[in-house]
Symmetry: C2
Subunit: 329 residues, 2 copies
């Protein structure tokens, strides 16, 4: 295992210390690093809290900041945060207007966030993300998995909360954004968790896992490595087949790296994806290209299309100042 670390047990705490140290202008850590919080909350706002297993950085702690999340609860690598962590985060950011929890659809996350919601006496509403079209159920999920589209839901909900939207409306807005957002991924290599020190699945020299999940869970099928053109065709086809957009629709096109894929390849994949999206009569009027929702050191990428209706483009464009996403300020 070739990683920058001191000991596998300490990777999470030490990485979070680095995150908070590097971004001390915007972030503080909660007690015992149960959560990472905005240094300054916007007065009177609904709190927005997310979280999940670590290993997907910058998701979620890197999206804490003005215009996005108020707090994120990092579990150990690929392990859900505990209800105790989530309750502490909720208590830290609730200003009387309640809290919206944004939860990727994995059984452990759903269970622990639901338990925390129960423990906080009706202060929380929950927005679940399940944007992955690759498989209908999976190793860790009943129903579709929440993957890179979660970033888009967090951005939209965070912007609306910043503009003063109330809790129940934020839930409706987040759920609508999730329904308009679909993703699919492909792995060229497995990832290696610090605890095991070994790749978490086997892929041959000329194989790829089409439809892979962000923990290396199996996808649709293992196939021979194909051109970027053919990969984009299959992924965009699956996404648009599910979304069934009207011709003339506008969208965010998000090409996301899984951690070990460099930008020169992600932009090439963007080119291919944009062509297939446009050929289907959808205009990618906003774009995001980079490694935002990762799987440790996995080589691979996902494509996300999020249809822009109503105020969605305005919410996407609204200022954000997080460690991992920043514009307009």
């Amino acid at each position: 295992m070739k990683k920058f670390l001191n000991s596998p047990d300490a990777i999470l705490q030490e990485s979070l210390e680095g995150l908070v140290g590097a971004h001390a202008d915007i972030l503080v850590a909660g007690d015992e690093y149960k959560f990472i919080r905005r240094k300054n909350l916007t007065a009177g706002k609904v709190g927005i809290v997310s979280g999940g297993g670590s290993g997907h950085e910058p998701l979620h702690a890197g999206f804490v900041g003005f215009g996005m999340l108020d707090a994120a609860c990092p579990g150990h690598v690929f392990t859900s945060p505990t209800p105790d962590q989530i309750v502490a985060a909720v208590a830290s950011v609730d200003q009387g207007e309640g809290v919206a929890l944004i939860v990727k659809n994995y059984e452990g996350d759903v269970m622990n966030f639901d338990m925390a919601a129960e423990m906080t006496d009706g202060r929380c509403v929950t927005i679940r993300t399940d944007d992955d079209v690759a498989v209908e159920t999976s190793t860790y999920s009943t129903g579709r998995r929440g993957v890179a589209g979660t970033l888009i839901v967090e951005k939209m909900v965070g912007a609306a909360a910043e503009a003063g939207m109330k809790r129940d409306d934020l839930k409706a807005l987040g759920e609508a954004a999730n329904r308009r957002t679909r993703s699919m991924g492909v792995a060229l290599t497995a990832c290696t968790t610090p605890a095991s020190g070994k790749p978490n699945f086997e892929l041959g020299e000329n194989e790829m896992e089409m439809g892979v999940g962000i923990h290396g869970e199996p996808g649709r099928r293992r196939v021979a490595l194909a051109s970027a053109h053919a990969i984009a065709e299959e992924m965009v086809g699956a996404i648009l087949g599910d979304l069934a957009p009207k011709r003339g629709a506008e969208a965010i096109l998000f090409v996301n790296g899984f951690g070990a894929t460099p930008l020169i390849e992600l932009y090439l994949l963007y080119r291919e994806a944009a062509r297939f999206v446009q050929a289907a009569g959808v205009q990618p009027i906003r774009s995001l290209v980079g490694s935002y929702v990762t799987s440790l050191d996995m080589a691979g990428a996902s494509i996300t299309v999020s249809l822009l209706e109503g105020e969605a483009a305005k919410l996407w464009d609204a200022p954000v100042h997080a460690a991992g996403l920043r514009w307009g300020m």
Copy 2:
């Protein structure tokens, strides 16, 4: 070779098409993709042009935009751009106030940018970057190599040009920023160029290349894989030994990934680096953590310390809107 591509010959052009497509609000391509240019130049400003071999994305084309570069000339992977490309870029951005060229110290780049400067009849001044303390000469350079610190020089010079500084003063400012900026890198794996399809050097399972260059050139020595703590100690020690900062100095601390190293590890390495920097009496008052000056799919990282004197912090903080670096707008 496991990469998102269609054919090794087409990777550069297709990736640039993706870049310009994804960022059509700020970027346009020159004829035959000789250069990538800002869509809207700031009227009356000195032009800022950089470039070099591809494979280091987002450097340089990803730094074209308001507050940074006016144009970047991408050579093929790890290959200098031609004088013809540079001359075309200069002609495209010169508004009568001349152009400052920012050139990493590699023999091919230096030769071709110097030739272009000669061909443009005194319109250009040249700022050379050579921030790598690892080795004094190298495979492709006479004298030290220009590496991740180049981003900092481009940001400072770009901000000063935006504020109206003239050509000769920009040269002096850029050279001063380069002198105050020092870097060192380490590779955990080699990188694979699309043309060869094979790793460009061999590293054992428990080896790392300390002081590696951004093309996989040899560094100081090949050693056993060490802890992040020990790696940061050696790199920060070499950097500060060379910079010899006064106690109480302020700095940018920049931890840069080489392409295949995920953010969870880079933030952990930042934590270690910050401790050694602070122990030497230097305050890292600004930070940058991410993969900005890369070596294709190499796993590894570099550390850069840039001392902030005079107006440097203000120039660093000034608004920038490029594909790969954005804040304040």
